[in-house]
Amino acid sequence: MSAHDERLAFIGTHILPHEAGMRQWLSRAGLSPSERDDLVQEVYYRLLRQTSYAHITDPRAYLYRMARNLMLEQIRKNRVVSITTVQNLDELGRADLSPTPEQAVSARRELSRVMAFIESLPARCKAVFELRKVHGLSQAETAARLGLSENVVEKETARGLTLILRQVAEGDAPVLAPMQPARTRHVGH
């Protein structure tokens, strides 16, 4: 694995799963959808610029803190503040950064998350992603298997990735049936 691949793997495992939560947090803080998009892209840009992620011990808290600091930077630069921004900046900063119980990342959970993303795609898109990502075929091989032109496969690839990125943003990945019997958990009093 190259250093860049390792960084991508870190983002995929530790950052992307928290993106939807961060986006919700930002809209509660009063950001409009386009301001939120800009800020999220800026967050990834800052991550891209870092040479190592070794110092990140709690990725979720780190991500939120970074978003908060960027928001403050924006406020200072543009001098645009809304009442909700100010009220929520502090409160959200505290409330949302407590560690959540299910933060442990397991390979199994990640796999089921990835499979759920692929599973949720429209039929043709899904077929392309299954051949490419599950079976590891190239675009040309995928096109031949499905009887489609390479251009169509490329288009479906871009479309599928966009749909998956949207799920990453919105956090509504459909949950696949558990890959082993789930242990019953008792919740309540």
């Binding site: 793997a9 995929g12 800026e42 990640e110 390479e150």
Partner: protein
């Protein structure tokens, strides 16, 4: 998600297509160099693309031949959605109950309306007009058979005027008059003149001391009329009119307004006054919507936006180092 994200996905797909050449690489690099947001979006899409490779363990031991029959022809059943008609039916129900609630508000006849500092009242008048009365305001309402007369003694009010051609609706502020038939407009008194802002319809504005013909103001129009007769000039500024009438929702809207203007606005509504300790700060420009009754929140915003010290105690709010 934005158009940038979609473009990033398209670049990833193109690069993974196996037909990537130097020209493509140059185009990608130019796109990335154009904007740090592009770089962020591309890095994110790249990470998601790489993440999907984890699915390859599911393919271990299974040859791709087993899914050779085009699986994409099987279409998923459409999810059941609420029809437009069902939706309309339920929203009609809500509208009906809201209208029902509005009927119990008592109307008032002929009287004086007063508000304290920070108070905001919305008062239905007997002729079906509505008066929204801003902070620290006094006005007299006289609804006669031939005229509807409102005397603004101090402060500011906004009127949603019920149509009645036979009875013009006239607001008086010292020597300034504003007349409407069926329309919505606001009038604010200042020490040296009155400001009229129109949100709907047409209003005629004049000064009783001047010989000029009335100025016609349409929706979005605004004019300041001095009590001493002087030429007046109306302007068309719908956004400014909206912002200046934000008080009807208990808000103060700032659009590149100076800190000293903002402080003066907040001080109209609150007994705990904002003091700008450092005069150099007074000209700093700010943008934002705030609750008029929360000067402390505003002060905290200023602290964040301008990075200046702010001290808040029970009697006053001091912005800037003393």
């Amino acid at each position: 998600m934005s158009a940038i994200d979609e473009q990033a996905a398209a670049y990833i797909a193109a690069r993974a297509a196996g037909r990537w050449d130097e020209a493509d690489q140059a185009a990608l690099e130019a796109w990335l160099a154009a904007d740090t947001r592009h770089q962020g979006a591309f890095f994110r899409a790249e990470a998601a693309w790489a993440m999907l490779d984890r699915a390859s363990v599911m393919g271990a031991g299974v040859t791709a031949d087993t899914i050779r029959t085009s699986p994409f022809q099987a279409l998923a059943p459409r999810p059941r959605t609420v029809t437009r008609r069902q939706w309309l039916a339920s929203s009609g129900l809500i509208a009906a109950s809201v209208a029902g609630a509005a009927l119990i508000v008592p109307a008032l006849t002929h009287q004086r309306l007063e508000t304290e500092v920070g108070e905001l009242r919305k008062v239905p008048l007997k002729d079906q007009s509505i008066a929204s009365v801003n902070t620290d305001t006094t006005l007299d309402v006289a609804l006669g058979a031939k005229r509807r007369d409102i005397r603004l003694i101090r402060g500011e009010a906004w009127f949603q005027v019920a149509k009645d051609k036979a009875r013009p609706f006239v607001v008086e502020a010292d020597t300034v008059r504003a007349r409407a038939v069926g329309t919505a407009f606001g009038v604010r008194r200042y020490p040296d003149g009155a400001e009229v802002m129109v949100s709907e319809g047409v209003v005629e504005v004049w000064n009783t001391q001047a010989q000029d013909t009335p100025v016609r103001l349409e929706a979005g129009g605004r004019v300041f009329v001095p009590y001493a007769p002087q030429p007046i000039r109306a302007e068309y500024a719908p956004d400014a009119v909206d912002r200046r009438l934000a008080w009807r929702e208990g808000q103060i809207a700032l659009d590149n307004d100076s800190l000293s203007h903002a402080a003066a606005e907040f001080n109209r509504y609150n007994s705990r006054k904002i003091v700008i300790a450092d005069p150099a700060l007074g000209e700093e420009k700010l943008v934002g919507w705030f609750r008029a009754d929360q000067p402390d929140t505003f002060a905290r915003s200023v602290h964040l936006a301008l990075d200046v010290p702010v001290r808040i105690d029970d009697t006053r709010i001091v912005i800037g180092a003393e």
